[in-house]
């Protein structure tokens, strides 16, 4: 009896030792067994394992798994730990997988032009597990075990967008009828994503409450990815997308993007609080009755897009005018002389069509701008109102008008959005030049007693950002004015040794002019006042330099008219220097030459205070030729 007991104890010990040895052997060989199994299923290129162990009978743990793209071989997912429940029933035909559970790791979604590598890899993995598993005689494909992955960090990569990290995602893969279903629960962001695979690949994508950003365009058909990149959508997405593998045009979808925000690259601000119902059918993506808000207004929009381009209809009604709307105009950065301020109203109906890389914009609208500043000194124009039209990439602005320096200004013309060419007709009425003088911030404006009422009109052509292309012509007049405190006229008075006239506000000025590049040519200048009239021509450069020749005619006294002709023969005044520091030279002409000129110069020297340049010989410089 004791002997039997000893034998039993020894046998038990030996069995235990054998079991332990077998256990140790199995544990040590687990990685080899697993790799062999993967090789047998044709998965070695798709899936690799770093190491494996068998912590208990029927449980296999694999560490450091890599899932690779079956086409390119790049890693698309990595799992820290995968536990496989192995059934021992019918084990002589090989162990049977009863469940897979993974923890930790990362997966990357991107689009390589042929599809999404992760989806491709998953597709291949599911296919291998379904068709190459061990089978009993007469048995169909073994049921796919459920795959349950937890705590996955998912990264969405879309060209041109920063990668989107979705930490803490859960993925479940299982049978769904004849196909396979992949359910992804997005971790901290919330929402669910369901992928349904048929035998031939991904067939359906369903999203519920998924918070999307532009990188999520990776899931969209290629035809709509460019549009998604253009609109940069964010929001909560519900989507039902049905796909036919290998036939992109057969995809169809309906969806709704809620609490959406769009940041179109061409808009200077985001469109927010949007509700975008959309559909995809036969390769055409459409958005209808979308309503979006932007700071100060709302826009109703519709969109139709296909692989060739898109057509976007935009309707903005009664929105608040914003200064950054100016950035919608091409080359807006070169419009530094035009500075609208926030405030006003805008209506705009636009159709933007992009086909074969060519964008066309058609539309019309109107706007009012409460305050607008023009030019380097920012002359204030208020209550601007006008209408717009865009056709064939030419923006027409119809009779914009506004209040300026107590008067009014009008502007109409066209802007070629392709070339930046501008054609404009402008007019001013009843402008108080005293206020204009101060607004222009010309030197000495605060001290000057300039007065008068300005009217004029001009036609102007040129190209934005290229001042040398400017061409223009027009005329203006100042009436009921006092102009002798203008630096050039003040210098003329002093050159002629005349005292400044009393401020009777009866001066009138009439000018016909042309503009070429940065130079303004006064072809006909005529100033009439009680004491003196001036006739002449000249030019003014944008840097302030002057070159004007005028003939003075004294109007005071009873002999003014009689002397007009004679005096015209006597002297001419050349006004040079700059606008704020003019230099006047008296030039004797025709019949009377040297002595008269010297006399004027001598007298001017006595009373001119040294402002005038020394008298130089007549004809030292030829008069300006026609530009």
């Amino acid at each position: 009896m004791v002997t039997l007991l000893r034998i039993a104890v020894v046998a038990a010990c030996v069995l235990c030792l054998l079991a332990a040895g077998a256990w140790l052997l199995a544990d040590a060989r687990a990685i080899d067994v697993l790799r062999s199994e993967l090789a047998a299923r044709g998965l070695r290129a798709l899936l690799s394992v770093e190491r494996a162990d068998v912590p208990s009978p029927g449980l296999l743990r694999a560490h450091g798994l890599q899932l690779r793209d079956p086409l390119g071989g790049e890693e698309v997912a990595a799992l820290d730990l995968l536990e496989a429940q192995v059934g021992l029933t019918g084990a002589w035909l090989g162990p049977r997988l009863q469940g897979l559970r993974g923890t930790g790791g990362r997966a990357t979604f991107s689009h390589d032009g042929r599809g999404i590598p992760f989806v491709r890899a998953l597709d291949a993995l599911l296919d291998a597990l379904s068709h190459h598993g061990p089978r009993a005689p007469g048995e169909g494909p073994p049921p796919l075990p459920g795959l349950d992955f937890r705590d996955l960090d998912v990264t969405l990569r879309m060209p041109g967008q920063p990668p989107r990290e979705l930490p803490g995602c859960s993925v479940w893969v299982g049978r769904d009828g004849a196909g396979t279903r992949v359910d992804i629960t997005v971790g901290s962001a919330g929402g669910t994503l369901a992928l349904a695979f048929g035998r031939d690949g991904l067939r359906r994508v369903t999203l519920r409450d998924v918070e999307i950003d532009p990188s999520c365009a990776v899931f969209l058909p290629r035809a709509t990815q460019a549009l998604a990149a253009e609109l940069a959508p964010r929001g909560l997405l519900d989507l039902d997308l049905a796909l036919v593998p290998g036939d992109e045009l057969a995809a169809c979808a309906t969806g709704l993007l809620r609490q959406a925000e769009l940041r179109p690259a061409r808009l200077p601000f985001a469109l927010e609080q949007a509700t975008l119902p959309f559909a995809l059918e036969q390769g055409r993506f459409s958005v209808s009755d979308a309503r979006l808000s932007f700071p100060g207004g709302a826009v109703a929009a519709g969109l139709l897009a296909d692989r060739d381009g898109f057509t976007l209809d935009v309707d903005i009604a009664g929105a608040e005018f914003r200064s950054d709307l100016l950035q919608l105009i091409p080359r807006a950065g070169q419009l530094s002389w035009l500075r609208p301020e926030d405030g006003g109203r805008i209506d705009l109906q636009l159709r933007i069509a992009s086909r074969a890389g060519v964008t066309d914009v058609q539309g019309r609208g109107g706007l009012s701008v409460e305050r607008l500043r023009l030019g380097p000194s920012g002359v204030l124009v208020e209550d601007v109102v006008g209408s717009l039209e865009v056709a064939d990439r030419v923006l027409s602005f119809h009779e914009f008008s506004g209040r300026c320096a107590g008067g009014a200004a009008r502007l109409a013309g066209t802007l070629d959005l392709r070339t930046g060419d501008v054609v404009a007709d402008a007019a001013v009425f009843d402008v108080d030049i005293a206020r204009l003088d101060r607004a222009l911030e010309l030197p000495g404006a605060q001290e000057r007693r300039t007065a008068g009422w300005l009217e004029g009109h001009a036609h102007w052509e040129g190209r934005i950002g290229e001042p040398r292309t400017a061409r223009g012509q027009g005329e203006f007049s100042v009436r009921g004015g006092y102009l002798w405190s203008v630096p050039a006229l003040d210098a003329v008075l002093r050159a002629l040794t005349l005292a400044a006239p009393v401020e009777s506000r009866s001066d009138s000025l009439a000018v016909e002019f042309r503009v070429k590049g940065a130079t303004w040519y006064g072809d006909k200048l005529r100033l009439d006042s009680n004491v003196l009239s001036l006739f002449g021509d000249g030019k003014l450069h944008r840097d302030g330099t002057l070159d004007v020749k005028v003939t003075p005619v004294a109007m005071g006294g009873t002999v003014g008219e009689a002397l007009r002709y004679v005096q015209r023969q006597f002297v001419q005044l050349e006004v040079r220097g700059t606008w704020s520091a003019p230099v006047v030279r008296v030039v004797p002409l025709k019949a009377v030459t040297g002595p008269i000129g010297k006399a004027f110069a001598w007298i001017g020297g006595l009373f001119g205070g040294g402002d005038e340049a020394p008298v130089t010989p007549v004809g030292a410089e030829p008069p300006p030729g026609p530009p």
Partner: protein
């Protein structure tokens, strides 16, 4: 020459040379300023700017009459059109002698250089200038009225919005009284924003000079009184 005849001739001469009374106005509450000043009223879709160019004697259809001259600039800051019905445009005059205000109906309107026989219409996103004349032969009999109340109505998008503006007389001793101004350039017509100050007005008729103007001139020089 008998003395009564001389006296009569002198009186006639005096009658011919003394300028008829003329009243100048600025919006009630506006501070004294060089020009006539403007009353500005803005609602969601329309901006109305009103100036009074005074009450003066002129000749309309061959008859001397006093007229209230108002300039309106209407900017439509919306896509739909706005209309100012003629019937709703009127001036209520508070006479210097007291009594209830008298209502004057609109007599004639010019929109820029065009005669406006119908309601005043302003298209969406445009600005138009109008010169309104309210004629009343005896209006200056007791001197210029103390104040004028201009009333109008804006009709747009199926709604009617009334508006009004009161103008008060610029006293003769006001430092900016247009009565102190030298006569305006008759070809230009304005001095410091006032319409033909110190210039006798004759027949009311559009005078176009061919140049672009916001407000044109509407008066010929006066003819002989016979």
């Amino acid at each position: 020459m008998p003395r009564p005849i001389i006296s009569a001739a002198l009186l006639l001469l005096a009658a011919c040379t003394v300028a008829p009374p003329r009243g100048w106005y600025r919006p009630a509450g506006a501070p004294p300023a060089e020009g006539p000043g403007a009353h500005v009223e803005q609602d969601a879709g329309t901006q109305v700017e009103a100036r009074c160019q005074g009450v003066y004697v002129n000749v309309v259809d061959g008859r001397r009459t006093a007229s209230v001259h108002v300039q309106l600039e209407v900017a439509r800051t919306a896509g739909s059109d706005v209309t100012l019905p003629r019937a709703a445009l009127e001036v209520h005059v508070r006479l210097a002698t007291g009594g209830p205000p008298a209502a004057l109906a609109l007599s004639e309107v010019f929109g820029g250089p065009r005669h406006e026989p119908d309601d005043l219409a302003v298209s969406g996103w445009t600005r138009r200038a109008f010169d309104l004349f309210f004629d009343a032969p005896g209006l200056l009999d007791d001197g210029p009225p103390d104040s004028l109340l201009l009333r109008w109505e804006l009709r747009a998008d199926g709604a009617a919005t009334p508006g009004q503006c009161e103008f008060v007389r610029v006293p003769a001793d006001d430092p900016f009284s247009p009565e102190r101004l030298a006569p305006a350039d008759e070809a230009f017509g304005y001095r410091s924003g006032w319409y033909l100050p110190s210039v006798p007005l004759g027949e009311r008729r559009l005078r176009t000079s061919g140049e672009q103007r916001l407000h044109h001139l509407f008066h010929e020089p006066p003819g002989w009184p016979w």
